[in-house]
């Protein structure tokens, strides 16, 4: 990643995370957006189309679509068709429960990529987190999608419970012809309540870092640059991309630095009424976020790998920005071998 060019300031986001609804038919205990019921003020079909128009006009390349469960929106497939007409790649995160052969047929498009969430490779372990029956329906969705040739991956959030399942999940992905992606657990939404119960220990994070090096085909959605070894350098970002490469649009159209910082103080504007271009280039929230420096990390030998890590995790765990991500590799190594930290 050429930070030099990113630091010059891009004209628009490269990728926009768009949570299209809060409504969800599951109630996962670690949901980042506390989804469940549809909420007042969610964007209408017409407003969504205007959001897509703005993204297209600003040459945004990709939507990372999430929620809630996107497929509960009756207009969702039509909205995706509209985004594809504009040439925008849509990477859709879903629980898979609403995808059958008919839906998979509609999704058979070169600009579609689907991530189906699973927390474990067995129904018992997965359903304890995601709800009864969710494993079987997610696997069925993956099978339907693969039958149609749609690019798919299994997406797993790294927690104490999914950590021992990683090899089995990789095996499941291989058997279904899917890629495997691991995302970082963040203490936002219901994740705030489940943080102490589910967050991996530093020893697990350290082991995971080694596991990632042995599984270079596993993607991390730029979640784990804070713990990646040298050999994964070049596979993704080495810094937080919020307000530099990406931003997030909530179901009600509010624009935030990222999906994990949907707090009132980070509200930068509202779409489609405001202009994306103005928000991106003039919002004080975004300008301040771009100037964020994690001073205490700058002398760390791993600074070039992570630039202080994930500000959202630092914010949620320490209630302020500008402080180090507590889940960084240097920190984990110090915990495991205190003498290294003292040297």
């Amino acid at each position: 990643m050429s930070n030099q060019y990113v630091d010059m300031g891009l004209s628009a986001p490269v990728n926009v995370t768009w949570e299209v609804t809060y409504e969800c038919n599951l109630s996962c205990i670690h949901c980042l957006s506390d989804s469940g019921k549809k909420r007042p003020g969610e964007l209408t079909t017409g407003q969504c189309r205007r959001v897509i128009d703005q993204m297209s006009a600003n040459h945004v390349f990709q939507f990372s679509i999430g929620g809630g469960e996107p497929f509960v929106r009756r207009d969702f497939l039509d909205l995706m068709d509209y985004a594809h007409e504009k040439g925008i790649l849509t990477c859709i995160s879903t629980n898979g429960t609403l995808i059958d052969d008919d839906v998979a047929t509609r999704l058979d498009h070169k600009l579609v990529y689907i991530q189906v969430s699973l927390e474990a490779a067995s129904a018992a372990a997965n359903d304890a987190i995601r709800g009864p029956g969710s494993f079987a329906r997610a696997v069925k969705a993956l099978e339907c999608l693969k039958k149609r040739g749609v690019e798919v991956s299994i997406n797993t959030v790294l927690t104490k419970y999914s950590f021992p399942e990683l090899d089995a999940l990789q095996g499941l992905a291989d058997s279904l012809g899917a890629k495997f992606r691991v995302s970082r657990f963040r203490p936002s939404g219901r994740g705030k309540l489940a943080w102490s119960q589910l967050n991996v220990s530093k020893e697990q994070l350290l082991s995971f870092s080694d596991w990632l090096s042995d599984h270079r085909g596993v993607s991390t959605g730029d979640s784990f640059f804070s713990v990646s070894h040298e050999d994964r350098r070049g596979l993704g970002l080495n810094m937080c991309g919020a307000c530099k490469l990406t931003c997030c649009v909530s179901p009600q159209g509010y624009v935030y630095p990222c999906a994990f910082l949907q707090e009132p103080e980070f509200k930068a504007g509202i779409l489609p009424d405001d202009s994306l271009s103005s928000i991106w280039s003039e919002s004080p929230v975004f300008e301040s976020f771009r100037r964020l420096e994690i001073k205490s990390c700058e002398t760390c030998m791993r600074f070039d790998f992570c630039h202080g890590g994930c500000p959202a995790i630092a914010y949620h765990t320490q209630k302020r920005l500008g402080v180090p991500d507590p889940g960084c590799l240097a920190n984990c190594v110090q915990v495991k071998t205190p003498s290294l930290g003292a040297a």
Partner: protein
């Protein structure tokens, strides 16, 4: 560089203008490619409507560069983009 060819983006590749030059996005990954070409090239060049020879001539006259220098610049840039698998050439003969 063959002058009687035009250049197109491969399927899955998009490009937009930035301050530093051009930003390419490749859906097939790795996704981002930064081309620090300043104002030498416009994204529209990769729509296959102008030949490389026309581009060389435009750069030569706009920048006041010798023909050889402009030609080398264009050859290097297009060669690099082809090597990365972002563009392909198409004969117009």
């Amino acid at each position: 560089m063959r002058s009687e060819v035009v250049y197109n983006l491969w399927d899955g590749v998009q490009v937009r203008r930035e301050k530093f030059g051009l930003l390419f996005y490749d859906y097939r990954g790795p996704r981002l490619h930064f081309l620090p070409s300043r104002d030498l090239l416009a994204p529209e060049f990769f729509q296959g409507r102008r030949t490389a020879a026309e581009l060389v001539e435009a750069i030569r006259s706009r920048k006041g560069l010798p023909q050889e220098t402009a030609s080398r610049l264009v050859t290097d840039i297009l060669g690099m983009l082809r090597e990365k698998g972002l563009i392909y050439e198409q004969s117009i003969c």
